[in-house]
């Protein structure tokens, strides 16, 4: 069985991390497969959104420590891992993490990289790198603080302690919590709901949301307006508004 299972549900792509013996530890091989699948999906006009899932008990419990332990300073300096993360991060369509059980270390960072995190009631989020004498190396210190604020992010990064799904939801890391056996199903529903909308609008909206983390408000507003203007040139915009006015379901073509 492959370590990354690829499933299609209409316009939604489901990527399932499948290294149960290693609690879905994200080694370079698995990250490469993820990046490759997402790059293929990015240019596939039949895919509108993607859900990343682990299993009912574990999302991903970290990076592969054996792989990391071998690397000294020069090897770490030239590690391809940051590029793998960058490739995953470049996915331009909505990306949902459906998290049951442990999302620790790199697993937590993968969830943070996604646009939406939907959690099972058994989910736990944490960055325990500090307990190993290292620190988060794939966005953990940057993305966490942007979603949960300074105090909680610092506590998690500096103590290595994890938080529950409820805490994560209160703090803004997680959008919804469901019983663990339903997490994937509901995440796919959310993805399907997104996938009903115009693909170009989804991409533009995602880009605007992403840019809010990169630029000051005025620049963000200007970019938002440019993207908004861009959509005015699409067929789908005409179709969306027409369908609304005629009280029918829109038929988006992605152009």
């Amino acid at each position: 069985m492959s370590e990354l299972i690829v499933t299609r549900h209409g316009r939604v792509l489901q990527l399932t991390l499948n290294r149960p013996a290693a609690r879905n530890a994200l080694n370079n091989a698995l990250l490469t497969q993820l990046a490759t699948e997402l790059e293929a999906a990015a240019v596939d006009g039949d895919i509108s959104a993607c859900v990343i899932y682990g299993n009912e008990r574990c999302f991903a419990a970290g990076a592969d420590l054996n792989e990391m332990a071998e690397k000294d300073l020069p090897a770490t300096l030239n590690d391809i891992r940051p590029q793998l993360w960058a490739r995953i991060n470049a996915f331009p369509k909505p990306l949902i993490a459906a998290v049951n059980g442990f999302a620790l270390g790199a697993g937590c960072e993968l969830a943070l990289l996604c646009d939406v995190v939907i959690a099972g009631d058994n989910a736990r989020f944490g960055l325990p790198e500090i307990t190993l004498g290292i620190m988060p190396g794939a966005g953990g210190t940057q993305r966490l603080i942007r979603s949960v604020g300074k105090s909680l992010a610092s506590k998690m990064v500096l103590t290595g302690e994890s938080i529950s799904a409820q805490q994560a939801q209160h703090a803004g890391l997680v959008s919804d919590i469901f019983p663990a056996p339903l997490t994937l199903e509901y995440a796919l529903k959310q993805a399907a709901l997104m996938a009903r909308h115009s693909p170009l609008a989804l991409q533009a909206a995602k880009q605007a949301l992403r840019q809010s983390q990169e630029v000051p408000l005025q620049a963000g507003l200007a970019q938002e307006r440019q993207l908004f203007t861009l959509l005015s040139a699409t067929d789908d915009r005409r179709e969306g508004i027409e369908a609304f006015l005629q009280k029918r379901t829109p038929d988006f073509k992605g152009r």
């Binding site: 469901f178 019983p179 339903l182």
Partner: protein, 262 residues
């Protein structure tokens, strides 16, 4: 090893007997550890479909054994939070989360954490001579083992305040009259009544019962909106159980269902 906890599994019922009768089954650290081992088994073993907790001898449980808490008047203050965090809180959380019914058969005095532990079980049956004593306030302490959360919920705020602040003895009959426990039976009936209830539960759709328990527990803190969502989720899960299928087909075929608990 001294057995401060007796446990036996029979016909799907795990019976846990608190067993330090000469100390009214009050808790010490070793007893907590032994109880924890039993709970581990109850959590892991799907063939156990009901948990029954009772006490050996004339008492149910007198809470924390104060002999273990010698307070040296000249020494530093003890950290009572330590044993609450290490033992009582995990115990209460585990019993609440256990997805199967937990029956307390209160055979005699239940005092302090013994009282709040008993009242926190899903079904409480008490012997007529049993009583509940919120002894904490008389020692300058706070009801623990879930006491302050539980009492206003089972007794209402006014009675909870009275019970906790006065620390007086509450008879089993009064507890029943106030709706704090399910049933009072004559002393000699207690064991058989509790056993009968446990045997009933092991023949029932355990998965569904577990969901009911979780839902009612969740309702204590949820808003109506959140609870309606939870009911939708749990009903979805329940609808996928083998027992639901069996229940419906038995109903349509007018026969007795044979539930497996899955």
């Amino acid at each position: 090893m001294v057995e401060f906890i007796l446990s036996q599994v029979e016909q799907g019922v795990m019976t846990i007997t608190l067993n330090r009768p000469e100390r009214l089954n009050s808790f010490n650290d070793v007893m907590h550890q032994q109880l924890s081992e039993c709970l581990k088994q109850a959590e892991r073993d799907d063939t156990i479909r009901c948990l029954l907790i009772t006490g050996a001898g004339r008492g149910f449980c007198a809470g924390q054994d104060l002999n273990d808490r010698n307070v040296d008047p000249n020494g530093p203050a003890p950290d009572l939070g330590m044993s609450v965090e290490t033992f009582y809180n995990p115990l209460v959380r585990r019993l609440a989360r256990l997805p199967k019914p937990v029956i307390a058969a209160v055979n005699g005095v239940a005092a302090g954490a013994g009282a709040t532990l008993a009242l926190g079980c899903d079904m409480v049956i008490a012997a007529r001579s049993a009583n509940f004593v919120m002894a904490f306030s008389k020692l300058g302490l706070v009801p623990d083992c879930g006491g302050t959360w539980l009492l206003p919920r089972v007794a209402g705020r006014a009675r909870a305040m009275g019970l906790a602040l006065l620390g007086d003895k509450l008879s089993a009959e009064q507890a029943q009259a106030w709706g704090m426990i399910w049933q009072v039976v004559d002393d000699e009936q207690l064991s058989s009544t509790a056993q009968q209830m446990a045997l009933h539960f092991v023949s029932q759709p355990t998965f569904g019962l577990g969901l009911i328990k979780q839902a009612i527990n969740a309702a204590e803190t949820n808003s109506l909106d959140a609870q309606l969502d939870l009911e939708r989720d749990y009903q979805r899960l329940a609808g996928r159980s083998d027992d639901y299928r069996e229940g419906v087909s038995a109903f349509l075929a007018k026969r007795t269902p044979n539930f497996t608990g899955k």
